[in-house]
């Protein structure tokens, strides 16, 4: 008798987890907002508006890697429109290109993390990894309103 109860409980839990994650558009926008926030800190350090801090530098590149890892899964077919999304149709027309762009962002962020021991290293690494922003946005992001 205990077994079905556990199954039901597990199902219920599973369902609620799905509900929480059931707004991929909001989740991917939040993911990118956190990438934007990390970039703001990085730019301030690179420009000397904020003292260089190697722990913060690592956090920035970690945030990029985490975002890149989960990003491609947040574009199911039923989220091409709605929720003020700025996702371009090309994401679905060229899925492999989009996934590759996310993978490159992740790899470049990992490389950057290994080169950011001091301010000069950080500046170069930050400049290199943030090239991914405009490259991906050029192909896959479009202002719609």
């Amino acid at each position: 008798m205990i077994r079905p109860v556990i199954v039901v409980a597990a199902l219920a839990l599973g369902v609620s987890a799905v509900v929480a994650a059931n707004d991929p558009i909001a989740e991917r926008k939040d993911t990118m907002k956190s990438v934007g926030a990390a970039t703001k800190t990085g730019a301030a350090m690179a420009k000397g508006e904020m003292p260089f801090d190697s722990v913060k530098a690592q956090e920035i590149f970690k945030a990029y890697q985490q975002a890149a890892q989960k990003f491609p899964a947040l574009f199911p077919d039923n989220t091409k429109t709605g929720g003020n999304t700025e996702a371009a149709a090309k994401i679905w027309e060229d899925k492999s290109g989009f996934t590759a762009a996310a993978a490159k962002f992740e790899k470049d962020a990992a490389d950057a993390a290994s080169k950011a021991a001091d301010l000069d290293g950080f500046k170069a690494a930050f400049g290199a990894v943030t090239k991914n922003c405009s490259t991906c946005h050029e192909s896959f992001r479009m202002k719609k309103s």
Binding site: T39, K40, A43, G82, A88, A89, S134, H137, R141, S145
Partner: protein
Amino acid sequence: MKRFMGAIALVALFGAGGAWVLTSPSLQATGTEALPGGASNLENGRTLFYAGGCTSCHAVPGAEDKTRLGGGLALHSPFGTFYAPNISPHPRDGIGAWTPEQFVRAMRAGVSPDGRHYYPAFPYTSYQRMNAGDLRDLFAFMMTLPAVEGRVRDHDLPFPFNIRRALGFWKLIYLDGKVFEPAAGKSAAANRGAYLVEGPGHCAECHSPRDRLGGIVSEQRFAGGPNPDGKGVVPNITPDASGIGSWSKSDIVELLTTGFTPEFDSVGSNMAPVVKNTANLPQSDREAMADYLKSLPARPSAVKKAPK
């Protein structure tokens, strides 16, 4: 519907009396003025090349080296698809055999060396503001770039847009042939900014709504609108609350240097190649452009909100 109305309008115009004479490219005197003598300034030519964003349309698509101007990019429009031609210095396939005078006429009058009208998908409506000395320097700089072999396919345009001659009418309405005149009461920097944005920068070509015949709606210049390539929208860049009124001068300079907005979003779609060009300009030129944008009349956004 848009295309249909445009077609009707063009055909009606074309049928009107004296049409043939009025549309003659040789009627246009613009761009036939003598060029200044002396040696060309290649450094100035380089600056104008990046201010003009020629690589955005003419660079070989997907190639790493943006100075290879072999063309081939497809430019979608409500009138059909244009393919940017080869403008590398290749003598047969590019413009290597042109004279500087022929180049000036193409840029200022939109007329080819063999006397045909160019389509305004080539934004000569802005480039006409450039002065002859700057165009001579630009041409000299372009002749130092790699020659790329191969001609590009023809444009893919339905009737009646495939009739180049009809563009003569379009030009009577939208091409005034005036070179930029520095305003007397303004500083050199302010005039520089106005020249760069209105002339080589051709910023209004994307950042303004267009009428049925594809001309910029002048009362809404810089107020944004549908993207001319038919996908998405282009934002209002006047200092209105619906535009970039909250941006400081240094915010605009940052965008033209790195592509980052004040929220650290990175501009994408067809603004990304623009930034790759403006990033190569002297800092003083980006500052002058930012000052000019901030001096524009504030206009409400012409971008229609997409249905939610």
